[in-house]
């Protein structure tokens, strides 16, 4: 990662491939995710029923080299951010679950060893949905993503892992979990956990929102891991992992906020009060204008961080600032979405209260769905 001189033009034009990809993602999101997301949120349909279907998007196998059975498409943080945006427009929580295996694959491609890639990546190329995920957050106030408290000390046949991880997407079902922890040396590392080894407990979480993402708390009570569970050569670039995940969370927020805007527009134009549509009033119309303005800014912040990552430029600061910006405005947009529908927005008949609950997570989520 360098600030090497490059001479690209400022450009917001999507490539033909990105345009086509967007169309199919948007189709899938509208047909398979919007209604299902709401049903899952209400508990009428289990999220488990949805994920096998998401395998048809082929998200995880796209960047896997052809030699390992994948599509061999060069990994693109920008294209991935666009995918996340479009899927989240359907449903944020199902989008998060759907892309979690891709986050695992991307991190292996990015920081895994040759042997680990060869061992695990073909598992994602069967055409079936392979539940895999990454785990960074920990259940305590003041948690800082750059300093996980989970520890991995040398022992047994390799390492002994202790600690707890929270808000892990697909946490109940994932056969493969990448866990971030701190070594005795104080350095950060990541470990690949297969299945549920002795000492590991999975507890389904009950949260304010994101019900479809199957968030779980994983606890590790002196779990013995083989030496080759250590990701890569052991020098885990946690910052890079966190930053790539921040771009993903921002993209999820952008897609969800776009859904809010698309929903409130016809509502305020049709809802009549005092003899005319409420959107004829500036106090209502200006809220909608501000949603549109801040949403566009969120999108540009996300794209900029993603494009810098893609070009190999230093992107830490832009990913950090994009997350700060998107988290704050996503919550505001979620809140305004409810407000614009008044009492109806507060009722679950409309999806805005669910988006409000889901968007609250944009600030908290870390270490998921690395692009």
């Amino acid at each position: 990662m360098t600030d090497t001189a490059h001479d690209l033009l400022f450009d917001l034009t999507l490539t033909d491939e990105q345009r086509m990809n967007r169309e199919s993602m948007q189709r899938f999101a509208a047909a398979e995710m919007r209604k299902q997301g709401k049903d899952v949120d209400e508990g009428t349909v289990p999220a488990r029923d949805f994920y096998p279907k998401s395998a048809e998007l082929g998200l995880a196998l796209l960047p896997i080299p052809e030699a390992l059975g994948g599509a061999g498409v060069e990994r693109s943080p920008t294209s991935n951010a666009l995918i996340l945006e479009d899927l989240a427009h359907g449903d944020m929580s199902l989008a998060l679950g759907s892309v979690s295996p891709m986050g695992f694959v991307n991190t292996l491609l990015d920081q895994g060893s040759e042997a680990q890639r060869e061992k695990y990546l073909p598992l994602f190329c069967t055409g079936d949905f392979k539940a895999a995920t990454t785990a960074l957050l920990e259940p305590r106030a003041t948690f800082e993503p750059s300093a996980p408290a989970a520890t991995a000390r040398a022992g047994g046949k390799g390492y002994i892992l202790s600690g707890a991880k929270s808000m892990v997407p697909l946490g109940m079902d994932a056969d493969l979990v990448l866990v971030a922890a701190r070594l005795d040396s104080g350095d950060n590392a990541a470990f690949i956990i297969e299945g549920t080894p002795t000492g590991m407990t999975r507890t389904e979480e009950s949260n304010m929102g994101l019900l479809g993402a199957q968030l779980a708390t994983l606890t590790f009570d002196s779990v013995e891991l083989p030496a080759d569970a250590l990701l890569g050569d052991g020098a885990f670039n946690l910052q890079r992992f966190v930053d790539l995940s921040r771009i993903a969370v921002c993209a999820l927020a952008v897609g969800t906020c776009q859904a809010v805007l698309d929903y409130v527009k016809p509502y305020v134009n049709e809802r009549v009060a005092f003899g005319e549509p409420i959107s004829n009033r500036q106090s209502v119309a200006f809220m909608v204008a501000d949603i549109a303005i801040e949403l566009e800014a969120m999108r540009l912040m996300t794209w900029r961080a993603a494009a810098r990552a893609e070009q190999g430029l230093d992107f830490h600061e832009q990913a950090y600032l994009a997350k700060v910006f998107c988290a704050e405005h996503a919550m505001k947009i979620g809140t305004d979405g409810v407000q614009l529908l008044g009492g109806h927005g507060f009722c679950r008949e409309h999806p805005v209260e669910m988006w409000y609950r889901n968007l609250r997570a944009a600030d908290t989520l870390e270490g998921v769905a690395s692009v």
Partner: protein, 399 residues
């Protein structure tokens, strides 16, 4: 391909104007804030140095080959303004040749008009004592008498009104016909009947003169009408005609937004320096919820500043690539205007008595930035435009 970094040539432009801003503009900031209305002679040199770009704010017209994009004059203009207004927005506005009228001439002028007046210092006369944002309601009249237009009326809030050598004046051919009859005219200063009657004393941008100008039987050549003299008779035509006049704003709003980006960057840079001296620094290493209040607020301001800047670049990029950008021009003006006000004022507060003191420029940046959320359309006017576009409302439905 998506890329939100500046092209090399615009990085270079920025670096160059920052040099000028630091060494040739900033040193005079306080002097001309104190000496309101005095002519900033030192800026003539700066004006000459950036003059090449100035004489044609559209920049060199680059045509995009099929399937490619350009980063041209509009992008160059906003990037230049980021730097110049980091130096001093008041001095920039008071700099010979920086008139907003130039943008209008370049946007809608004929080849002859651009040739004759494009290089002049052109101020814009729109507002009247009884009409601000409601610019469709102006009362200044233009009547054709033989080969000349005769202008009558009073204009206020004319930026550079005294120093400019040309004026672009909005006037109506027939007030009863409404918007469609509003046209703009080029008036050379010194034309009999055109007189600067007053200079305003202001909260900020004191280095820039803001004039009241009266027109009493002021006669100008028939060819000095910008655009067509025809008054549309049907609703569609009327809308289109006024739209042409309003189009000027699509070109001038991103630059004003860019000024807000420049001033607020100046305030942030200065505050971060003063705070660093007290051991408060921004490392982007911890989440805002784990930071102290000052660091968290700086983080938030940096995020807002970056976001506003990208909206400005997008609007300029669209203009360069001939994409209609009325919506984006208003979006960036709304965002940069309020972010500029917010950041500059918070910086005064964070630096406490150093911020409030005239020994530093923080209080001046705050005062200067206020106008940027007002002229070329207030915050509320931008919100109105964005709301109408997004909600697909007419101006009669959403007033």
């Amino acid at each position: 391909m998506i890329n939100l970094e500046l092209a090399k040539k615009h990085e270079d432009t920025f670096a160059q104007v920052m040099m000028l801003a630091e060494h040739m503009i900033r040193p005079y900031s306080r002097k001309y804030d104190k000496e309101e209305h005095s002519y900033p002679r030192e800026m003539e040199e700066v004006g000459k140095l950036i003059g090449g770009a100035r004489s044609n704010p559209g920049g060199t017209r680059e045509e995009a080959a099929e399937g490619t994009v350009v980063n041209g004059g509009n992008m160059g203009a906003v990037v230049g303004l980021f730097g110049l207004c980091w130096g001093d927005v008041g001095l920039f506005l008071g700099m010979p040749g920086s008139g907003l009228g130039n943008a209008a001439i370049n946007a809608v002028g004929t080849a002859e008009q651009k040739q004759k007046y494009g290089g002049s210092y052109a101020a814009m006369c729109i507002t009247e004592p009884g009409t601000g944002s409601d610019s469709a309601n102006i009362s200044t009249t233009a009547v054709l008498d033989g080969d000349e237009w005769v202008l009558n009326g009073e204009k206020i809030f004319v930026t550079d009104g005294e120093r400019s050598d040309t004026l672009v004046v909005w006037a109506t051919l027939d007030k009863s016909l409404g918007k469609a009859a509003i046209k703009s005219f080029i008036v050379e200063k010194g034309t009999p009947g055109c007189e600067v009657t007053r200079l305003e004393h202001k909260l900020g941008i004191r280095a820039s003169d803001t004039a009241a100008i009266s027109f009493n039987d002021c006669r100008i050549p028939k060819d000095n009408l910008l655009g067509s003299a025809e008054v549309a008779t049907d609703a569609e035509g009327r809308k289109k005609a006024f739209g042409g006049v309003m189009q000027t704003f699509d070109n001038t709003r991103p630059p004003v937004a860019a000024m807000a980006i420049g001033v607020s960057r100046a305030a942030l840079d200065m505050s971060r320096e003063l705070l660093a001296a007290e051991g408060v620094e921004l490392a982007y290493d911890r989440k805002p919820c784990n930071l102290g209040a000052i660091e968290a607020e700086l983080c938030r301001m940096e995020a807002e500043w970056n976001a506003a800047r990208l909206l400005v670049l997008k609007a300029a990029w669209m203009a360069d690539n001939k994409a209609p950008n009325s919506l984006e021009a208003s979006m960036c003006k709304a965002k940069a205007g309020r972010v500029g006000n917010d950041i500059t004022l918070r910086c005064v507060a964070l630096c406490q008595s150093l911020g409030y003191s005239e020994n530093s420029l923080l209080e001046k940046f705050a005062r200067d930035s206020k106008i940027l959320d007002i002229f070329e359309g207030t915050q509320q006017i931008q919100q109105l435009i964005v709301a109408r576009r997004v909600l697909e409302k007419s101006s009669s439905d959403l007033k």
